[in-house]
């Protein structure tokens, strides 16, 4: 069967009723526009909120904690073995906060195919000396390159450069609030004292703003080497190993696996942050629900126009069938009409949706906690466009199916007798 002929007839019918078909197509355009704009905006928000916590949080964190030994001397005494011993006020002795064998662990992780990247870290409690008073703070010893690629560290450095941590010796990046309290600016020198009483001078090479004020009040960043020097530890000293996985969903299982394998504690991202995922899911769900509802309404529009066309064109359908067009040909004509309404309306909707997204993207949206965000966030993922277009095709096809079947079932004898 020649499709060109079917298309020719379909186009003629479309043009004969172009006003109604335009209205039907506009319905599809409108719903797809809304769908794209809504999904783009909602997912932009999702990304933003995810970015606030999830992007900066390792999928798995390996660390050790100061622990009380389970084995106490009394357990080795024969005479006390039979009873139950209550011991109070046990103190840890000589415990290490560092991860044992950090080097082999790092090389093992580097070979693990499920791992996207690893960033070692040292957590060091210090005091910042401001004249005569000391305030407590934390120096995070990091690898700036790994931190930037895995946890978007550079996004939060609002002054100076993160790379300077590596190029300038004894350098530090202060939290914005901490710097404000210390009256320190980029280029200044700050004094820190370690819990062991060592005094150290560090050059401020940058400021960062994480978006969480409490955090910015106490935190600072230095290179791993500098931090090891401050603490007086060797180059194996690491307190945390942060792991980012290729598939975040594997985190809980892999955390258990690593804890056993490396003899450290391991924490996965899902355990602490499940509420974020729920929020994202609900926002996506709402967008899809609104989009699909609009499309269904548009589908009824298409259903109506096709039914009207068929009612008006009974005679034409009858003569087409009388002169040799089969039911399937008539069916295809009307499915083609429905799909062309859907495709035109859908493509226009994608374009308009994109334009509306661009518009939303221009609306100023400033918040102190998010230094990198200047306008409302929009996600331009092609996935939404693909989904939107597929939805428009499916709904218009379904809307066209019933009328098309009705048209193909028309008995020419009944029509011709009726005249």
């Amino acid at each position: 069967m020649k499709y060109s002929l079917i298309i020719k007839i379909a186009v003629a019918l479309l043009l004969a009723r172009w006003k109604q078909t335009t209205v039907a197509a506009v319905g599809v355009t409108f719903s797809i526009t809304m769908f794209i704009a809504l999904l783009g905006f909602m997912n932009g928000l999702n990304d933003l909120l995810d970015g606030l916590i999830l992007n900066r949080t390792p999928h798995i964190r390996l660390f050790t904690e100061v622990n009380i030994r389970q084995e106490q001397p009394i357990h080795h005494q024969e005479e006390f073995k039979s009873g139950h011993n209550f011991i109070h006020s046990i103190k840890p002795t000589n415990s290490r906060q560092a991860i044992y064998n950090s080097k082999p662990i790092l090389s093992t992780l580097a070979e693990d195919e499920r791992v996207l990247g690893v960033a070692p870290k040292i957590n060091a409690q210090v005091f910042f000396t401001l004249g005569t008073i000391d305030i407590t703070g934390v120096i995070n010893g990091i690898d700036p390159t790994a931190e930037a690629t895995l946890f978007h560290f550079n996004d939060y450095v609002i002054e100076g450069k993160a790379e300077a941590l590596q190029t300038v010796s004894n350098s530090i990046i202060l939290g914005k609030e901490l710097a404000r309290k210390a009256l320190a600016e980029v280029g200044d020198i700050v004094q820190v004292i370690t819990p062991q009483g060592e005094r150290f001078s560090l050059k401020v090479v940058g400021l960062f703003q994480s978006g969480i004020q409490e955090y910015d009040k106490t935190q600072s960043y230095a290179s791993i080497k500098t931090t090891q020097k401050i603490l007086g530890k060797d180059s194996n000293y690491l307190t945390d190993i942060q792991i980012k996985l290729i598939d975040i969903n594997l985190a809980p299982a892999m955390a258990i696996e690593y804890a056993q394998r490396f003899g450290t504690l391991a924490e996965d991202i899902q355990t602490g942050n499940s509420q974020f995922e729920t929020g994202s899911f609900v926002r996506s769900l709402i967008s899809y629900a609104v989009g699909v509802t609009l499309l269904i309404v548009a589908g009824f529009g298409i259903y109506n126009i096709l039914n009207m066309m068929i009612y008006e064109k009974m005679d034409s359908i009858a003569i087409l069938k009388a002169t040799g067009f089969a039911g399937t040909d008539v069916n295809r004509i009307f499915i083609f009409i429905a799909l062309s309404i859907g495709i035109t309306g859908g493509l226009l909707g994608l374009l308009l949706g994109f334009l509306v997204s661009l518009g939303i993207d221009q609306i100023p949206f400033r918040t102190a906690s998010l230094p990198t965000v200047k306008t409302y966030p929009v996600n331009y993922s092609l996935f939404f466009y693909a989904i939107g277009f597929t939805f428009s095709l499916i709904t218009t096809y379904l809307a066209g199916l019933l009328p098309a079947n009705k048209a193909s079932g028309i008995d020419p004898v009944i029509i011709i007798r009726g005249k």
Binding site: A12, T323, V413, I416
Partner: protein, 208 residues
């Protein structure tokens, strides 16, 4: 309850014959024609077209038979107003797909010329007179060189002059091109000018 409209119908038409069917209103002429045209399949017995049985054929196959072998002219013209006169004539030819689009167009023009309406080819189908429309419908029926042309009171809606034109066209078809024609009519004058008259009464053929 089923009431049979036609009973014991058996006849054949030879190639090149110009046959008319007459009878009182309601005697079953149209019903007979629709059955012969393969559009109405609700009957018992068999229908042979070009020596081939149509019994048990699928809707699509019957549509193809109509397309290829049968030309129709109804009381009403049934032209598609979205298309030009020429395109209306071409449609069944394009559907058959035996000739290229250009050839189909050429053949359509030939037929319009034979019917003396080639000057209307580019006009929209709703911009011509009733008599002209019926001639366009005849040209459409002829486009695929059908084995037979069937007409259900093709002159029923026309005035005397246009009826004569249409009759002359049919006669010319029969004599010059040996076109087989089966035309239902109430017009006795029309019927008497055909080669053979089939007379019906109460769903039966009483004379042929």
């Amino acid at each position: 309850m089923d009431i049979p409209v036609l009973k014991d119908i058996s006849f054949s038409i030879n190639k090149g014959e110009f046959v008319s069917v007459v009878g009182k209103s309601g005697c079953g002429k149209s019903t007979l024609l629709y059955i012969l045209s393969t559009m109405d399949t609700d009957f018992t017995g068999d229908l042979l077209i070009d020596g081939e049985s149509t019994h048990g054929k699928k809707e699509k196959q019957l549509a193809h038979i109509r397309n290829e072998k049968i030309g129709f002219v109804f009381q009403f013209h049934y032209l598609l107003h979205e298309f030009s006169v020429l395109e209306n004539v071409m449609l069944p030819g394009l559907k058959l797909g035996r000739y290229s689009n250009e050839e189909v167009e050429h053949r359509a023009m030939e037929r319009l010329k034979t019917l003396g309406i080639d000057t209307l080819a580019r006009k929209k189908a709703n911009q011509i007179s009733g008599g002209e429309k019926q001639r366009v419908a005849i040209a459409r029926a002829l486009i695929n060189d059908p084995q037979i042309i069937m007409g259900d009171e093709p002159t029923g809606n026309l005035d005397k002059r246009n009826s004569e034109i249409v009759f002359d066209v049919f006669k010319q078809m029969a004599e010059e091109y040996k076109q087989t024609l089966l035309i239902v009519t109430h017009d006795t004058l029309f019927a008497h000018n055909t080669q053979r008259i089939i007379e019906m009464e109460d769903g039966k053929i009483i004379h042929q």
